[in-house]
Symmetry: C2
Subunit: 526 residues, 2 copies
Amino acid sequence: MTQWKNLDTLASFGELAKVQKVNLVEAMSGQNGADRVKKYSVPMAEGLTYNYAAKQVDDQVIDALEKLAAEAELSDKFAELYNGAVINTGENRLVLHHLTRGQLGDTVTADGVDKRAFYVEQQQRIADFANKVHSGEITNAAGEKFTTVVQIGIGGSDLGPRAMYLALENWAKKNNTFKMEAKFISNVDPDDAAAVLASVDVAHSIFVLVSKSGTTLETLTNESFVKDALAKAGLDASRHMIAVTSETSPLAKSDDYLAAFFMDDYIGGRYSSTSAVGGAVLSLAFGPEVFAAFLDGAAAEDKLSANANVRENPAMLDALIGVYERNILGYPATAVLPYSQALSRFPAHLQQADMESNGKSVNRFGEPVDYVTGPVLFGEPGTNGQHSFYQLLHQGTDIVPLQFIGFKNSQIGTDVVIQDSTSQQKLCANVAAQIVAFACGKADDNRNKNFEGGRPSSIIIGDQLNPQALGALLAHFENKIMFQGFLWNVNSFDQEGVQLGKVLAKRVLAHETDGALKEFSDLLNI
Amino acid sequence: MTQWKNLDTLASFGELAKVQKVNLVEAMSGQNGADRVKKYSVPMAEGLTYNYAAKQVDDQVIDALEKLAAEAELSDKFAELYNGAVINTGENRLVLHHLTRGQLGDTVTADGVDKRAFYVEQQQRIADFANKVHSGEITNAAGEKFTTVVQIGIGGSDLGPRAMYLALENWAKKNNTFKMEAKFISNVDPDDAAAVLASVDVAHSIFVLVSKSGTTLETLTNESFVKDALAKAGLDASRHMIAVTSETSPLAKSDDYLAAFFMDDYIGGRYSSTSAVGGAVLSLAFGPEVFAAFLDGAAAEDKLSANANVRENPAMLDALIGVYERNILGYPATAVLPYSQALSRFPAHLQQADMESNGKSVNRFGEPVDYVTGPVLFGEPGTNGQHSFYQLLHQGTDIVPLQFIGFKNSQIGTDVVIQDSTSQQKLCANVAAQIVAFACGKADDNRNKNFEGGRPSSIIIGDQLNPQALGALLAHFENKIMFQGFLWNVNSFDQEGVQLGKVLAKRVLAHETDGALKEFSDLLNI
């Protein structure tokens, strides 16, 4: 059994603080810099590479991080997790999202079943259903094919699947696997559902209601919205809706749905893109084969994350460097900057995955920690961001570590040559340029045009954003977050911080308020 | 003439640091809290209200901020700006975006013309053009009406207009002023242009090329993309494109465009939504009357910002409180959380406006400052964010000040009653609940379920997000950023931090690289 200890009680953490800091400007200049780019590079799955040459580390720092990884027993903890230990102690639950895409260790049995078999069974059921929808075996009441799938869910049931859909939409169209357009309804704001419903042909739409508990307020409310719209169109809602939920939820056996597909309590919402939550909408949109390829990419990356050798484990390395930046170098935020318009909502998904997992002030035993944990995470695609918030990243008073993502090839392949280069080359040239600009800066006598440099970044480089690469990318970040949770000794798999707001909102709706809450309720006309 | 001094040289800043800090949990609990909600409220324009009861301030702090405002001469500096002083010293330019929506002070003459008259003339020209497009007087070569407008621009030519379009799309549809769908092409990623072009009917699309200089790489590249697509469809590009640019740019007098509308060097990209940059696309999409109403809202809010009484000037108050949070309380980031799906991209626009304006390390004289300036700004709409990163906001180790925005009424008006409340009521109940949850927290013996509270927020409340309210909202934040720039003594109107990346990217494309830059270029196959 591993020992769960606070970061600041580890001898190796004390040692890490003493290691000479790297001068990034020096390190990344001249031949030094070229050598580092070749050296500080680790293969990921599916042809991706994690390059950390422009991080504020060197062999001494990495050695110290390696010792920290060993003392924190990161590999052993991951093994306990994928072998079925109760890692989510707060909720007394196993953490099994890795099992949705592969079997890394022992057979895990829970609720009396082999969980890997259970997840595979759900994938198979979804694949069969999706194939029948695509072939026209399952249709609307008029016998017409469905053309659109609309996901109704919020948080993890929305951000991840939506980001993955956008990431692969153009790829699927280009590769002739695009089956149906997908739309998403999430917010309890009535204008969200109303606008989406106005934009689709409800008679040819299939709605996926996603709620693990079957009790999420926003989702059930939006289900009613959809049922109203179907009724107004003279349609039988039960011919247009499927559910993704847990087997014990009220939605599981209801006649209100064409079919129900299952997840369970061992898959957190923010880790559910590879479960039935992502599986239903993505299999309907792109075909089950595309979803299967996405899972394969994630599984391959998971295998690399299980490697105990830090230097060959990109997620672990990324996690360790992040903790070094946060707890030793003192950087308060981090930005994710994909040079890929298809990844436009990937940062929003990571914002949830990261901030909801590790934005905690108590350790896994409920004791306050004396160090900072999860940072603020934000991001937008490049090159757009270059014309926006990069000003602060380059010349602001705070240093914000950066995570770039870039691909050699576009998804669609349509391109133009302007000034002797394609758009794709311009895109790649920009990301290469930014890494060096942030790291090395450029002295200028006009201080307003001066760049201090010393701003660390890493980059994940791939050939093309395809389903496998996307799966690997997602698993990399999920596993990075997990390792950081181990280092900070927090439970990355609960989210008690979302509860108080829910309780107070119910009180407002029941008009059981006083003090400031009553005043604000009055101001908002509730 | 006003004196431009660093924040830390002001006596009142030293005094501010000495004022007793507010215990927000105590302040916002019980009758105290109710009293604060009534008291700490300022009217904005167009029926909006800025409420700062849940900020970490009290009368003593506000008194000290009032002295700071006076010593920093915030009102006088704003007056100098709108009366035509060279506030953008780095680029030796006037700062005139306020003139696009009203005349706050003296007539401002530049380039030999009355600039207010110039901006009004452009609005009028755009209105005439848009009316002719809508009436069918201006059509494609086949004599058919245009149905779609596609903006080609990046940064300020993209984020602001896009956010405003999304903010008013449903309102316009509901109020029968919706004329044409708008789409946006921004990224140099070829998949961006290719995907947008595949989604529109190019034969019935009018493209708005937006580039002040007429030289922005991304925009010119995407123009070629569009021209290729038009040519492939057998269409004459010059019948489908208009330009928004400066009068001196190569685009201004070109036969390649149906028409050209003008901005100038006194309107920064991130402040250009109320200029021709926003005017063309929004007037085409919603009609010139809607754009005019948007400008009216901004003008009305600008007037309030010119009030020297801090307690009656919401933008100035917001700016002062923000500097107090950043420089005295030490909070490193801030989040903007609109409870309105229509404002889904408003935080991304503010991210640019704020971080590009005040993410600076030198003062307006080019001397390094010894204090932190602009914070990281991020945000997503509520209630979505509640199921995502709010965990960290509630229970993370860092305190992140919050800016909520809420409206009593939805835009579309379609709603459902579930459990005795409408979705709109649920939405409003949630934002009210969150303010109190963040401020007051809730003690729990289980520390994992404990909420410390003490997390400050303010809220802007309106009746409905309509064009006037949106204008007021935008102007509020623009002016807040301006006042913060005055306080930090930085030039909020240049962006030298974006230059180095451009220079290095050109070098990569010319294959004039060495060291790390060459290695990264090779890795990315350039």
